[in-house]
């Protein structure tokens, strides 16, 4: 049996419908739905091509590159400390070595960024994202939560940061 509230709601709904209707009056360009599947497939293909070419260079090599970079960076830091007072903080090295805007679109910088990102605590990355664009984080979490068994993957965070932030910003947190 319907409650009083439900009956009241139905009456209101009918009143609204009889007065205003339920027509869909949002115009759609002609042939839009006929073309949409192909447009989406095209978009997927272009994104895959991009990922593929991107994968081809640094990321597929990441397994051996990361240790190599670690050694290189460690050597660099070692050399740095050799010529600087011991009180110098690692953070300030980051700031000196990488100034804002001078690292993007450069393959060698990608290695450096990867190294730093992979060595930053996960919370740190999340904070970075939060500060930069909380709506993106929301959407990632939302999207992942609606994908069964989905959790926010560290790699996703790193990819996001790589594309949206300079290393200078990241090391400020």
């Amino acid at each position: 049996m319907k409650t009083k509230k439900e009956i009241d709601r139905e009456i209101s709904e009918k009143r609204l419908e009889s007065r205003f209707g339920k027509k869909n009056s949002f115009p759609v360009p002609e042939g839009y739905f006929a073309d949409l599947p192909q447009n989406i497939i095209q978009k997927i293909k272009s994104e895959q091509t991009f990922t593929l070419s991107f994968d081809h260079s640094p990321r597929t090599q990441r397994r051996w590159l990361i240790p190599a970079i670690t050694i290189a960076v460690a050597a660099f830091i070692g050399a740095f400390f050799l010529f600087k007072p011991l009180t110098t903080q690692v953070n300030s090295i980051d700031k000196q070595v990488v100034s804002k805007g001078d690292i993007q679109n450069d393959a060698s910088d990608y290695y450096y960024i990867s190294h730093i990102l992979y060595n930053l605590p996960y919370d740190h990355l999340l904070n970075a994202i939060n500060k930069e664009d909380d709506t993106y984080l929301d959407s990632v979490i939302y999207s992942r939560s609606l994908i069964p068994d989905g959790t926010l993957k560290e790699e996703e965070v790193i990819d996001y940061l790589y594309y949206h932030m300079s290393i200078y910003d990241i090391t400020q947190f």
Binding site: S12, E13, L16, L36, I40, I41, D138, L146, P148
Partner: protein, 182 residues
């Protein structure tokens, strides 16, 4: 959508040989319903188109993670809903300062025949709907226009049936007030 159809689509999607065909079929099956809910939220066709394309790209990218605990439709719809809300939120952050500004902007779009071609009464209703907070607007659109059951809405939004009934009730009452109909 009947479970058998979902099953058929998932079978096609599971095999490398038929995956592309299965995906095209999936888009054709759901595109209009997904577009409709997105369009009612963002009003502009160009925005709706971007979102719908992103939704299906995400579906493609995450097909392997889909474990069939919900129906395909529920899953896709949920992505669409979240993408629409994210879009509105990002507009608020990037262009406007508040929900009211976003609402005013969307109301202006209703007055433009490029974006809305209903009569005056329909436009009046759409403008009243835009006064609702985004999530309540979504609940109203899903129930009133898309004829979804509370159970379906609950599966999509992850909100209890009771809370959805209350939200819809409140939305209708607000609309009656905005439109001055009793």
């Amino acid at each position: 959508m009947p479970k058998e159809d979902d099953k058929r689509l998932l079978n096609l999607l599971a095999q490398e040989k038929t995956k592309n065909y299965g995906f095209e079929l999936l888009v054709k099956t759901y595109q209009e319903r997904i577009y409709s809910i997105v369009r009612r939220m963002v009003i502009r066709h160009e925005d709706a188109n971007d979102i719908v394309q992103d939704v299906f790209v995400k579906v493609w990218q995450n097909l392997d993670n889909f474990r069939q605990e919900s129906s395909l439709y529920t899953w896709i719809y949920r992505i669409a809903v979240n993408e629409s809300l994210r879009h509105l939120k990002s507009r608020k952050v990037k262009i406007f300062s508040s929900d009211v500004d976003v609402q005013k902007h969307l109301e202006q779009l209703i007055d433009n025949p490029l974006h809305f071609n209903g009569d005056q009464l329909e436009a009046k209703l759409q403008k009243a709907i835009l006064k609702l907070p985004p999530k309540q607007r979504l609940v109203f659109n899903m129930k009133y226009y898309e004829d979804l059951t509370y159970e379906q809405m609950s599966a999509i939004l992850g909100t209890s049936v009771g809370a959805l009934k209350a939200s819809y009730h409140l939305a209708i009452k607000k609309l009656e007030h905005y439109l001055d109909i009793y």
